[in-house]
Subunit: 217 residues, 2 copies
């Protein structure tokens, strides 16, 4: 199954999404992402990612044949362009240092054909941080989370255990609070934390967390 991206520009109105998804279904396409553009005009731009058996030409022709369709374009998927994502959350000072390490290391792997993005949000407070940790489970292409702060515990720890159970790798700075106890890996230096996280998810790296004999650095 090849995964393709499809940008469809169509008249707005009830039932348009239903018509387009109907045609995708008839071509045995498995929709994995649908995203409607935020600016609403007379025409709406919708981005689909679809697993498709064989050539997309017939599917594209089918969508073009709809009365509401203005334009259809096949594009590379977000996985091909932006690739795997590392998400860094926490205090601005530390998020910045972890990002610096992660971006420098992602650069070295992306030059050799990897596609790794480094995405961040500086936040304050147990509630917003726990919510951001849980939401990483709903972010497309997220592979690892770094908790970058000086004190994190309580509901943030609960959220860390939840997203780890969903298969996400969690790295924590060495800090006060219970979050380091819940993480896969604990690193004291923020730049190294960023570098190690990228190494852990890069196919081009030899580093594997399950081969480490200790988990605190």
């Amino acid at each position: 199954m090849e995964k393709i991206g499809l940008v469809v520009l169509a008249d707005t109105g009830p039932g348009v999404l239903h018509q387009v998804t109907g045609i995708i279904g008839r071509h045995a396409g498995n929709i994995t992402l649908v995203e409607l553009s935020e600016d609403r005009g007379p025409a709406a731009r919708t981005y689909f990612e679809i697993e498709l058996p064989g050539d997309p030409a017939a599917l594209v022709a089918g969508i073009r044949g709809l009365a509401v369709t203005r334009q259809v374009e096949v594009v590379n998927t977000m996985q091909k362009i932006y690739g795997k994502r590392i998400i860094i959350v926490g205090g601005g000072a530390q998020v910045g240092q972890v990002a610096l390490g992660a971006i420098a290391e992602a650069d070295r792997h992306n030059i050799r054909g990897e596609h790794i993005s480094v995405d961040t949000i500086p936040l304050v407070g147990e509630g917003p941080l726990a919510e951001a940790v849980r939401a990483v489970g709903r972010l497309p292409r997220a592979r690892a989370l770094v908790l970058a702060g000086s004190l994190m515990g309580g509901d943030i720890e609960v959220a860390v255990r939840e997203v780890r159970a969903q298969g996400l790798l969690v790295v924590s700075l060495n800090m006060a609070g219970s979050v380091p106890d819940a993480a896969d890996l604990v690193v004291s230096d923020p730049v190294q934390a960023g570098v190690m996280t990228v190494m852990a998810i890069a196919e081009t790296a030899k580093f594997r967390i399950d081969r480490l004999s200790k988990r605190v650095f």
Copy 2:
């Protein structure tokens, strides 16, 4: 219209998405995002964002009533949790410095109630960079793009003009090549470029690019 997030855990199989979207349609919900989780088991987790008139309780009860549904949860939207996004692309050294400035500045605004994320990818080459610039137009919640490098032109410039025409703010480092000529704002210092970009999209900032008397700093 309130916008809600909905996580639906349901049995996998053909027609499941169709059944759920049918119920959303019957409750006059306008779907703006559908994202299927990547790990496939006997049950699939799908995340919806829906504009809905009134209380979501009836919609949730309707989806819970389907034979295929295992669990339904109302969550905050990505806009509420991660907010507006700044995307930084280019060479690792410069992407890191722009990110450092942008994260420090986003921290100051997020503390006052803003939600600004700083997302990055280090990339090399005209083709991959032009493709990443164009794809920003398909990234949800992207408000501004920073081109962080030493030499960018050719198709990257064409792509910059395309995404600007779609309403995206584009900031460029002062660099060789034609990209600075195509940008809204040109900044020599990468940390300041990150700070200014966040200021430009933050509601909590007084800075407005259209009030500047020059566009190169």
